[in-house]
Amino acid sequence: MEWETVIGLEIHAQLATSSKIFSGASTAYGAEPNTQACAIDLGMPGVLPVLNQQAVRMAAVFGLAIGAEIARRSVFARKNYFYPDLPKGYQISQYELPIVQKGQLTVDLEDGTSKVIGITRAHLEEDAGKSLHEDFQGSSGIDLNRAGTPLLEIVSEPDLRSAKEAVAYMKKLHQMVVYLGICDGNMQEGSFRCDANVSVRHQGDPKLGTRAEIKNLNSFRFVERAIEFEIERQIDLIESGGKVVQETRLYDPDKGETRSMRGKEEANDYRYFPDPDLLPLVLDEAFIAAARAGLPELPDAKKQRFIQQYGLSSYDAAVLTTSRALSDYYEATVSALGGEAKLCANWVMGDLSAFLNKENREITESPVSPVQLAGLLRRIQDRTISGKIAKDVFEALWAGEGETDAIIEKRGLKQITDSSAIEKVIAEVIAANPEQLAQYRGGKDKLFAFFVGQVMKASKGKANPQQVNDLLLEKLKE
């Protein structure tokens, strides 16, 4: 019997505001415990929340980017439950009336097709603190630095049909929020994390199976593995006569398995009700128009533009628009060089990316600026150096040894384009290799490459490769 998997994701994106959603405390990551928690974050008696307008704007920007309706009136509610790192005994969240209503995201799949995934809603809420269970001799410590950090919870429709689709959707969403500048996307620091609702059913069955919710997945790899494990588990369970129970599960990355955290019968009754400390959030047309005007070019639109404007392949355009910073770098390079879009693309995706990866740096941390890279490419273009030599110059640029022209000068890397000089080298090479010459002339064409190699070697790589080709062809015939 064929099984179908049904997955829906709830993604928590931490909004990149400088202060918390209901207080003025900083949201910077990594500070000493409890140094970024003010009276409001501590839930002291008598304190009151005041909504961060920046967080509202970011939620609206997200909604517009996924083509969703922005609620002109949304409501903050209290989700009541006791937990030591939840200082007020309730979390302020949006429940019945979220700020972002139905939207959608188009996801590119591995087989080259694309699929539209529905987004049910996205709502604003505050994060809780952190409980620290080590180093306290039988007690627990609580760090409230994270308490009150603004989150946008993005809930998808159960439109995803495999772990791979789920990851593709999550990656696309990640790219989107980083592009929009509303989330730093740092998954290790928990800025972008995911809960996955997974169920299975027989192919064609209109009814959804019982789902399990896997909590707090903070990497794409974990999402894929956890979902795959969970699908297997559920299918095995049903096929062996068992039943999936609705429950919350945790993924253990060390063992590569999910395990039960709490069942439905232990589920909280959150006693939601509208928070009387906050008035309904009312957004007027001017606010929404301003948010729309502030929308950057979105990844899909940018990719299309790159294909058209720069004549790039779909693949190149996709890679170069992965992040806003990368596409900005690329466009700055093309602009500094004044064209040669394909050459720029090759270098940005090739050597530059390789160096960045090797040193684990972000594009924004590249020691070679777009103007410097364009300077290097200009010397390839005007044949001062060959592409091969350019790789050495790039390395020197990266190491901070000066500008392209100075490096070429200092190292004597200028390409030899003087025909008589090249002819002289060719003559020497031919004279030194009579045997190969005879074989070549006897019809062994493959030896041409041997002669090219010898000439390049003798010229220490500086001879212009095209000229070497042309002249060698000529001389070998003689």
Binding site: V50, L51, N80
Partner: protein, 484 residues
């Protein structure tokens, strides 16, 4: 000095008849003498008061004094006061020292007022007799066997006994107006949003509102002017300028329409109280007001709606008192659940526990629609009733409470009867309107209050109507004999 009103004290200070330090010492001595019998104060901040008084005198010498500079005041122990215990009348916060000031406290400090101490109150403002306080009941200065009303009973008693010329209170269902009535003084609950709730420990956030107690409407006008105003730290505070309440006091009442809701004069109203209230209405007629009978048909639903909404909000507001970060924590908790349950069971008294349980139940899945949503619908109906009436009249008048002060212990075991003592005040909170209580006579030795209700932001009108009445009568000048 202790028998002077705030307006008189302000004039005396300005004229150099006495210093704030002298005045403060005199009142601190009275507190020392009388508080043991009244139990109106939980904490007396004598040293801080004297240093504030000296600062006020200094400020006056520098020519920087404002009308309230150097005038002493008592703060209800629900307002956070930086560095001073803020107990909210509860064991839970018995050792809680607030790390910041409530906006109301900041504002009165900025005006140069001198805080004498923190007054007793029903635990977390839940009660109508001041008997739910962890610090024991407050007694009514007019009759030590009687309750002062609640929840702001300590503030009302302190002002009635001339231990302080003014005090702050909070009113969620009548907690300023009912004790003002039972203690024979004047108190006003402003429009919801008029006074900042920042630093005022929440009972029921959508109903809570701070306001002043004093002996006269004029004094209340002075105090409210200093307390009111937009506060960016309170999202429910209203950004609207504060009028000069004192300037409006003397307007004549000629032609002012006063509505008497027939529902406020029916069954349940004590006959003797009704007589006193009717006499006050007659006085208003003599002052030129036009009296009209009106109807608030949904009044009878106010108490049931209130006792769903207020407990629902309180069950959530009081969840933060969990023994984890501050407040009472049980000894040797064996695990997390034990820490929560014992800390809360030990820290909260019976009435608070009752309301938390009721509220938790009302918000639970499956009950929410039947209770909380229904109560919110009733709340809307009650507001609409008032708006219909305010299309006809300027002010609504009636008894503040159905009876005069009852005896200590009389209603303690009967919460329903206790809840009924707020029957005329609660609807005002549900609608968010301003309400004022002023003394209009006695039944035996115990005072009777008249409640005046206005439309949104009509505090000026209420203070004006009360002031004109006080210009023509002397009920507000009566002093309980033992505290003369």
């Amino acid at each position: 000095m202790h028998d002077k009103t705030i307006a008189q004290l302000s004039a005396g200070l300005a004229a150099g008849e006495f210093s704030s330090e002298e005045l403060t010492r005199a009142l601190l001595e009275r507190i020392e003498q009388f508080n043991p019998s009244l139990n109106a104060f939980i904490t007396v901040t004598d040293e801080a008061a004297l240093s504030q008084a000296r600062a006020a005198d200094q400020r006056r010498r520098q020519g920087q004094a404002e009308p309230l500079t150097g005038v002493p005041i008592a703060q209800k122990d629900i307002f956070c006061t930086d560095g001073v215990r803020t107990s909210c009348g509860s064991r839970m916060l018995d050792r809680f020292i607030a790390p910041y000031n409530a906006t109301v406290v900041d504002k009165l400090n900025a005006a140069g007022m001198v805080m004498l101490g923190k007054t007793n109150m029903d635990e977390f403002a839940m009660g109508s007799s001041n008997e739910t306080s962890f610090y024991g009941p407050v007694r009514n200065p007019w009759d030590l066997d009687a309750v002062p009303g609640g929840s702001s009973g300590g503030s009302a008693a302190a002002v009635a006994a001339r231990l302080a010329p003014g005090a702050t209170g909070t009113d969620t269902g009548g907690s300023i107006r009912q004790p003002a009535a039972l203690c024979g003084i004047t108190g006003i609950k402003p429009t919801y949003g008029r006074v900042s709730r920042w630093g005022m420990i929440a009972y029921a956030s959508s109903l809570d509102q701070g306001g002043p107690f004093a002996r006269t409407a004029e004094d209340c006008a002075l105090l409210l002017g200093a307390m009111a105003g937009f506060d960016p730290r309170d999202s429910t505070s209203v950004n609207q300028p504060v009028p000069d309440y004192v300037a409006a006091l003397d307007q004549p009442l000629t032609g002012v329409k006063i509505g008497l809701p027939k529902e406020y004069f029916g069954d349940g109203l004590d006959g003797s109280v009704a007589h006193v209230v009717e006499a006050a209405i007659t006085e208003y007629q003599a002052l030129g007001a036009q009296i009209v009978e009106v109807s608030l048909p949904n009044s009878r639903l106010a108490i049931p709606a209130y006792y769903v909404i207020a407990p629902a909000e309180c069950s959530s507001n009081l969840a933060r008192f969990d023994g984890v970060r501050y407040g009472h924590r049980c000894d040797q908790p064996k695990d997390l659940l034990d820490l929560y349950t014992r800390s809360r069971a030990e820290g909260f008294g019976a009435e608070v526990t009752r309301r938390i349980l009721v509220g938790t139940f009302a918000l639970s899945a499956g009950y929410y629609d039947a209770y909380y949503l229904k109560a919110q619908q009733i709340r809307r109906l009650i507001s609409e009733d008032f708006q219909r009436v305010f299309a006809q009249v300027d002010v609504i008048a009636g008894p503040t409470s159905p009876t005069v002060a009852f005896n200590l212990g009389e209603k303690v075991d009967d919460p329903i009867t206790m809840y009924l003592s707020d029957i005329y005040t609660i609807a005002v909170n549900l609608a968010g309107l301003p309400g004022l209580s002023l003394p209009v006579g006695f039944v035996g030795q115990r005072p009777v209050g008249l409640q005046l209700i206005g439309n949104y932001f009509a505090e000026e009108r209420l203070l004006n109507a009360a002031h004109r009445y006080q210009q023509a009568t002397d009920w507000h000048r009566r002093t309980p004999t033992a505290f003369a």
